[in-house]
């Protein structure tokens, strides 16, 4: 019996496993550090207190419970033994006939890893809950602060990185402060919140066309977000951000800038690009190991256009599906095919009622792009109940301007050590 080992259950890994579900004579093992598949495109809504974590995450083993040929283990990979075709994890060693690596990427601080403490990224549920805690706590602390300088600092939110995550976070924070919090505070005016989006390059949303990126910029400014381009962050500390000579005092700094592919890539023979992605063959396999495939954010695939594909959900979904189909072909003694990405376009939402959309030559911004964004995200969200609950949360939040998950949840669960409110300035 052939065995396929899938590392990671993001869009690529999950979609590959779905192809294998119920296939006879094939054993599939999925290994992930988490027990759930996370619908990453909506993670910023958890950070912005609009959705609960469980609404955008489903237990992996539950998705495949009906298929006995699929086994799921929660574990962490220690070593890829490519020459002997096995993977060593903290829950044992697994041999494989085919290996699909889909471990994604993590945030990267370009060598300034110490910045993480004061500028969390947004890749995991834990990080989203932490960002939510920091944002909500900043408003709570501002309400009790009498010193006006400190109050301004508490109400200043800096987002580093003008890609989709940064733009979506900025839009969501603006909505939170201008609408949701409008009447909830007595000693502060949440509308005077400063949200500053910092981008090192010449424009935000660099993956979109210049026209749409300008449009997004203008709309963010209408929402009260200051967009700062050509600004490189040189220091982040507990009180704010430096950009060369310029200094912004801010109690909350969020990181949406650098990304680096899973460090497992470094264990494999093969060329890595500047983002740590491994260069794959036209069929997404590795040059030296044709039985190893790499998909999603972990892979550098540039055979189609000469430029590497972006790290977005449609790429990961198509690659996962393609790899699984190719493996089934080979097992049926047919030749492998080459991967061809079908561009389904790009979307980014900018607060309430607004989004940008680019599908091939179609470039759309504004309300109708936002409607498309809504339907695409609901459609791809896994699980009937999740779709329904998220729709309900959105409808309610759209009509009432309220958010469904405004909870400040602390790290420490122990009663005796938990001092409730985090002390000011220390987070």
């Amino acid at each position: 019996m052939a065995r396929v080992l899938i590392l990671g259950s993001g869009f690529a890994g999950l979609n590959a496993a779905k192809v294998f579900a119920g296939v006879k004579g094939l054993e599939v093992i999925i290994i992930d550090q988490k027990n759930y598949h996370l619908f990453q495109p909506l993670l910023y809504q958890v950070a912005a207190a609009a959705l609960s974590p469980a609404e955008i995450a489903v237990p992996i083993r539950n998705i495949f419970s009906r298929y006995n040929n699929i086994k799921v283990f929660q574990g962490k990979v220690h070593k890829i033994k490519a020459d002997t075709k096995s993977v060593l994890t903290n829950v044992g060693e697994f041999r494989y006939d085919y290996l699909i690596m889909a471990c994604g990427a993590r945030h990267f601080y370009f060598g300034n890893e110490v910045w993480e403490e004061n500028a969390p990224g947004l890749k995991t549920i834990e990080q989203a809950i932490e960002i939510r805690r920091r944002v909500l706590t900043a408003f709570e602390n501002a309400e009790t602060e009498n010193d006006s300088d400190k109050k301004v600092k508490l109400l200043t939110f800096v987002i580093v990185g003008g890609g989709s995550t940064g733009v979506e976070l900025a839009g969501a924070l603006s909505e939170l402060s201008r609408f949701t919090f409008a009447k909830d505070f007595r000693n502060i005016d949440p509308k005077r919140t400063r949200i500053i989006l910092i981008e090192a390059g010449p424009r935000i949303l660099p993956n979109f066309s210049e026209k749409l990126s300008l449009r997004a910029s203008r709309h963010l400014e209408k929402l009260g977000v200051q967009v700062r381009i050509f600004k490189k962050v040189t220091k982040i500390d507990v009180d704010g951000v430096n950009m060369g000579d310029e200094r912004i005092e801010a109690a909350t700094v969020l990181w949406a800038a650098g990304i680096q592919a899973s460090s497992l890539n470094r264990q494999l023979k093969g060329e890595l690009d500047s983002m740590g992605r491994i260069v794959v063959e036209p069929d997404l396999s590795l040059k030296h190991y044709p039985e190893i495939f790499v998909a999603g954010d972990q892979a550098h695939f540039s055979h189609q256009t000469g430029k590497p594909l972006h790290g977005i959900a449609p790429v990961a979904l198509q690659q996962g599906h393609f790899i699984a189909k190719n493996i089934l072909k080979e097992l049926g003694d047919k030749p492998r095919e080459k991967f061809h990405y079908i561009d389904k376009g790009q979307l980014a939402t900018i607060g309430r009622n607004n989004a940008v959309l680019e599908i091939g030559r179609l470039k759309l911004g504004g309300f109708w792009a936002w409607i498309v964004w809504l339907f695409v995200h609901i459609y791809y969200l896994i699980g009937f109940k999740n779709k329904f609950v998220v729709l309900l949360q959105w409808a309610s939040s759209y009509l009432t301007y309220q958010k469904g998950a405004r909870l400040i949840v602390n790290h420490d669960w122990r009663f005796y050590r938990d001092d409730g409110l985090q002390k000011k300035r220390t987070h």
Copy 2:
């Protein structure tokens, strides 16, 4: 302008504030360590992965956003200065004309506070998430464990304390292992999970009549829960529980036994009972400080029947309401009244389709008691959307046997320090 200071926004504090909402010439300040009101009776469903935290919690300031005479501060109380009528907190000092103390209770380990690490209680959202993490992780670890003794230990869950919380947790864990997980694992049979409920006294649910308590016991045993009465826990460590000479090896131990009232009581002149509750006057005020009222789990009120009222939601709700009404009376130059508790009965659910109910002489067990339980809890749950979403989760979970929030969320949000899966046995 008179000022009422309310400490704590549980059932008592919140219900008092509601009476004051919009009353002219009266300023109300609510201080709570959390930014939300928690619907505590459903907290065990968060621990059992059935509900998300945000579904049973609402931001306090949002409840009162329309009422400008009510201010909410997130803060921690350091000192009650009863003689000068002020309260010192980490967010400043607040003077008051009337003080309502409604800070509730916390778990208590009878001097064995070190047990907490290996046997978390269930009073806060953080604790519920931690219990959920431990329970789900035990199943994940059992799936990868080859040693059969270790496997048995991982699938053994001990709950200490046979009150409502312990019984409800036991029922929910049984449902999880027998139905929800039935087909999700390949290397374990979740139905062979051992759930052991330990009670030091002669019977579980001691607040209910003997007949119902026996009935609950029998139903729990039908669900596969072992009920052990007259057993006193003498030691809890990382591998299990001792009860005198007897030892149970268990990877997961949960604490639902002792409770102690807020330690703020010790700052006040007045008699405390064995649970740390302060003895109050017939109008719920303190003997030496008629302007200080104490309500809910923090108060010992025995003027009505000679025995102290139980620490249940209806008592807290009625006391909070009563205190606020009495203050308004006094401000209107009318005499204070004495508190009289109207017994609305008691309810506890025992897994799917079963509950016990006691209202005065009416004693009911089984399916219809469970239906009453459902409606009472939905009715009292705050917020239209929360009611609707919780109903939906319950309906879906009832029909599909699935649970909506099966996420293992870790403590550490930092990417670089988070090692994903917790190591076995160390939690």
